[in-house]
Symmetry: C2
């Protein structure tokens, strides 16, 4: 854990503030996600030895063959393999009907040897698909993406111990924990209100007892709102929209953005940036996540954590391990 | 509607601000709830004539015999009767078991002639009761209190057209509409995060496009947070905790509190006050709800609205009216 070291560093840096510019401590998602995955691998090993060969199992259901989905799925399968999770990739052709997708979900729901099920979105099908209906067909007990209405309802009303928390906001919380900054009583600002980032992030910060402000595209005074944030989480989907001079001195800045912008100096002609203007925010924030290497790697790690958690809950109900 | 008249009044009053103290426009829940009930009565009449005698039907399930519950139920039954809703009171003895309560809920869930079901809380039973389990046993299609996880999940993620909104925050929104102040782009502050008031109020303001700050018992700078609110909704359950000098000049102040405080000048020895110190807030706010006669009467009116809405949805699916 980098907490103690980074805190010492922060204290040192803080002493210079006012006199000259200081630089934020970088909160590494690469490092933190590796720590999470190592912890999970130990936990899975413990389960295997205690429950004679038992392994947490995850099904990733894909419809069609999108390149980006293939890439995401491949990184999930790789992380699972490293941890010892039995991950299975079920791919339906883009000609699959909604009923076939639902039938596959129901079959996994009923399979006691599978503890987690995610449906890779967006669905790449030639047939009409109601992704809301499909997301909610996943059993709440196996919904390790935490995207069903029931899990959202529990999270939004504070029943955190009894639900699955969506992976990206859960990863953000883990990164905030790494800073050593306590959340309770702080003023947190969330930009964005999507189902997978902003809305559950609000809930998670609120039920960790922050005072939380939800901002979005209709917010009229975003720089002022950002300027009051002790903890800022940005999931807006707009490249470098948060400027450094908006950021409160010493704030924790968590950037969920992944945006491609033109860059002639790169062989690919583009580079990846976050929703925060990193260079300028780095001079104001106390802690900041980089892009890439910040929130991104945490999302997969937290999917693994939810899968292990689901397996643990299964074992609590089925002490024989089957 | 008082919108135009009150806006003219506000404009007049605003002109005096700075020179001398002004007084907020009172947003009457008594008057607004009457308007809602009159509108619903017309709608029920229209249903009856169009669908040969069809009436929206509501079941109020009570366990035990608490005085306060009896009072609330009686006001719900009275409002339903006035509107033409067929409301039935099912009372189980305090000796009822949880299974009996669940059995009653399932039976109403399956009854196509009932469109709304509420379980009066708290449950007054000698047996252990899991009120979370019981609340979630109500079919989401009949959950006119809007308290099940599924309805909370939909509301919190912005699917407002496809859920039931809890009655008290829904009533607050109706009162805010009465002021003529638009919500989109405003800074709203909600004090409290309960399942029936604060948490759904946050969601409702957010998805009506306000920038929303959620405050609660762990908030460390409540006066400053309140001072930034164009729209303030208080559901804290603490008598007169919000002082007038915290309130932003011209704000809309909605007070959900119902607190009994000692008052020797009253025959009863007590009086009812809200969570806002009315006399001082009245001198700063643009619009304010009184207690009693503000949010209180709206809650029952919005329960009736949800019941009529549920019946309308039923008729959409069953055009024959049965």
């Amino acid at each position: 854990m980098l907490t103690l070291a980074s805190l010492s560093l922060r204290l040192g840096v803080s002493g210079c503030r006012g006199g000259r510019r200081s630089i934020a401590t970088v909160v590494s998602g690469n490092k933190t996600s590796r720590l999470v995955r190592e912890r999970l691998a130990l936990e899975v090993e413990r389960m295997r030895s205690r429950f004679s060969g038992f392994r947490p199992a995850l099904v990733v259901l894909q419809v069609g063959d999108r390149d980006d989905s293939n890439l995401y799925i491949s990184s999930k399968l790789k992380a699972a393999a490293q941890i010892g999770i039995d991950a299975r990739h079920v791919r339906l052709p883009s000609s699959a009907t909604q009923d076939e997708v639902l039938q596959n979900i129901l079959s996994v729901n009923e399979n006691p040897f599978v503890h987690g099920l995610i449906v890779q979105l967006p669905l790449d099908s030639v047939n009409p698909m109601d992704s809301e209906l499909i997301t909610n067909a996943v059993s709440p007990d196996k919904d390790v993406d935490g995207l069903s209405c029931i899990n959202a309802g529990k999270l939004s009303r504070g029943d955190l111990k009894n639900c699955f928390i969506p992976c990206t906001p859960n990863g953000c919380m883990e990164l905030i924990r790494q800073t050593g900054v306590s959340v309770a009583g702080k003023h947190a600002v969330v930009i964005g209100r999507s189902k997978i980032v902003g809305a559950p992030m609000h809930d998670l910060l609120l039920w960790n007892h922050a005072t939380v402000t939800s901002c979005h595209s209709k917010t009229t005074d975003l720089p002022e709102q950002v300027g009051r944030a002790d903890i800022l989480v940005v999931g807006a989907g707009r490249a470098e929209m948060v400027r450094g001079d908006w950021v409160k001195e010493g704030a924790v800045v968590i950037d969920c953005g992944i945006n491609h912008v033109p860059d002639e100096t790169k062989a690919s002609g583009k580079r990846v940036v976050g929703d925060v203007h990193y260079a300028s925010a780095n001079e104001r924030a106390g802690f900041i996540t980089p892009v890439p290497g910040g929130v991104g790697p945490m999302t997969v790690a937290m999917l693994m954590e939810n899968t292990v958690l689901s397996a643990q809950r299964f074992l609590l109900k089925n002490p024989a391990g089957r």
